[in-house]
Symmetry: C2
């Protein structure tokens, strides 16, 4: 077999993530590698923590990136908070709610599943009823921005319900962080994870997490060790903890952390509120363009995610053919449907650096050429 250096195509990434990465972030990624215990790297880690606190709107001391993709961030939250036999209520209205159930079960917990239809919001009344019916439920887990359906669940109201029933709240913010409001302290979120490759527009491979002081107490008071050594926050805090000496736990993904720092810096420069507004504006532009092509959005405007637009595939249009032509003729990636929605929808991402007028014009124009 012959091998050679890989030169990727220059795509425009408007799928469900990874999103387009800014050249600033790619440049940061390629800077020379430091040791993971180098004092100057430790200064960078402190800045990453502070910038993540800004992005999450939190003062939580235990705020840091897990050294692996969002799915590992999800697992970090469940593995640290769930002990064998614990009851966890999980709101399921898409792929990622289902994945949460898998996590609960694999941690030896018992999942109380609260199901809603794909494309609909989690029904707050059902959640209230489920939590009120079983006082043993320890955690309420839900997905803020369901990447498989384009639905925004009402994170603030769900956290209020968790509080009402003295549950911890555990939130998937993989697709929401940086694209729509996430207010960890204001809403009282106890554990949250996100991903680097969505609205933060960093390369994939890191999962920012944050735990409230109450969640940290629960983790410290566990009677069973966390089943994952790699994701055990009691150990990781020795490396990412505030100030002083950093104890080696695992080798941090140094260059990816350079990139995360630069992408968070860009978010900080723009300002959170401006970033949310840019995503809202981009969504309006895209929705108008799609409407002009006769395409329908699959999700009600009231709870639609601006950064992930789920579009019905018109009858008679070949899903894979359209996506293939967009990729090959226009270097444009949009996403296929996932799970129940496979074959019925496209998912058009407007995430982070990708969410700009030029890309939206290009997407609408290209889609118009391909489907007409």
């Amino acid at each position: 077999m012959q091998y050679s250096t890989f030169i990727p195509e220059q795509r425009t990434l408007m799928g469900p993530g990874p999103s387009d990465v800014s050249p600033r972030v790619l440049n940061a990624l390629a800077r020379s590698t430091l040791g993971h215990l180098d004092p100057s790297f430790i200064g960078l880690m402190d800045e990453i923590k502070a910038l993540l606190q800004y992005a999450f709107k939190t003062q939580n001391a235990l705020t840091m990136p897990v050294s692996a993709p969002g799915s590992a961030g999800m697992e970090a939250c469940f593995a640290n908070l769930v002990e064998p036999g614990d009851k966890v209520a999980v709101c399921v209205n898409g792929v990622f709610g289902k994945r949460m159930v898998e996590n609960v079960v694999r941690c030896g917990g018992e999942a109380v599943v609260i199901e809603d239809d794909w494309g609909q919001q989690t029904d707050l009344d059902k959640v209230d009823a489920a939590l009120s019916a079983d006082p043993a439920i320890k955690i309420l887990a839900f997905v803020h921005a369901e990447t498989s359906t384009g639905v925004r669940n009402d994170a603030q109201a769900l956290c209020q319900l968790a509080k009402k029933y003295k549950c911890l709240s555990l939130v998937d913010a993989v697709t929401s962080l940086g694209g729509i409001e996430v207010d960890v302290d204001g809403w009282g979120i106890d554990a949250i994870y996100s991903g680097s490759q969505k609205c933060l527009s960093c390369v994939p491979g890191l999962s920012p997490v944050s735990f409230s002081p109450k969640a940290v107490e629960v983790i410290q008071a566990r009677t069973h060790p966390v089943q994952s050594w790699f994701l055990d926050m009691n150990l990781i805090v020795g490396y990412w903890g505030k100030g002083g000496k950093r104890a080696y736990h695992h080798t941090a993904p140094v260059n990816s952390l350079y990139a995360l720092h630069e992408s968070l810096l860009m978010l900080h420069e723009e300002g959170l509120e401006n970033a949310w507004q840019r995503h809202a504006d981009g969504h309006r532009q895209l929705a108008q363009g799609l409407s002009s092509l006769g395409l329908d959005m699959a999700v009600d405007e009231a709870f639609r995610l601006p950064q992930l637009n789920v579009v019905r595939i018109p009858d008679g249009v070949d899903d894979a053919d359209v996506r293939g032509r967009l990729l090959n003729e226009f270097n444009l990636e949009i996403g296929a449907g996932l799970g129940e929605f496979a074959g019925n929808v496209w998912r058009i991402g407007l995430m982070g650096h990708a969410c700009k007028a030029r890309n939206i014009d290009h997407c609408v124009a290209s889609l118009g050429k391909v489907i007409n």
Copy 2:
């Protein structure tokens, strides 16, 4: 707080890893991001698998990089192969053997610990006795290249013992792969993990793994689900599996995989045997230089790792002061001792791209200036 773009110092990395990363690899890292299901990325994945098979000397179909650092690769091997109640013999003569024991216990297994002194090899007679004493032992786990002590354990002989007692062999090759011979098929290794940031000289954050057909059978025949969703090989194989359609499992760390591909390509261009020889030659040069400074190696020449040189700190020399001056005055990183060896030794890495005469000259000369 004021934030700005982070420009790292240009260090020479001669610690226990990460090692110096070639500009070719950093350039690859910074190329434009593709979607993790893009057909052209899937072609790259196939090449990475083939190049890893070359590096590991194996035909194992289940050979791929775990999307997280070496510690997660370790956990992937244990979490997939150990079921609750399983007995696992673990050879411990350093930090990473101990970490294996942690993994066994957290997977619900029972660890049969075979201990040897730090700085010594695992005693084959003890292993034979332990395996012969308990036919219920399912797995023999050991560290090939103990990064905390600089000792090479006799992987080939240990695998023979595993075979003799019908155990699976599970091998830590984090520091060995690419630096000394590793022969997965020839030695009959059933599960092996490595790290990207040692002798492969890629950036940290990925862990190549490989499982023999027998190990795959064991994983497929499990009665309990793998406790980690993120590391469950039964699911991951749907994304990394051979040919055809790739099913989404988690978002692959696309840019880090560009870098791994380039670093494996460089290894392939050089040739495995030549890379081992380069490490052996570098070690000889370094050992002579250290000897001329009056410094002693802590490990017997017969089982010393060329890529990780553990050097006794002379009486009256301040460990932290020397490492600090090397870093600040010479931009040179060497490693501190770990665990039992903390404060007593330095660990000088000659790994991958870092293992070249220029670096060794610089290291010996700088160390000479600082300690004299």
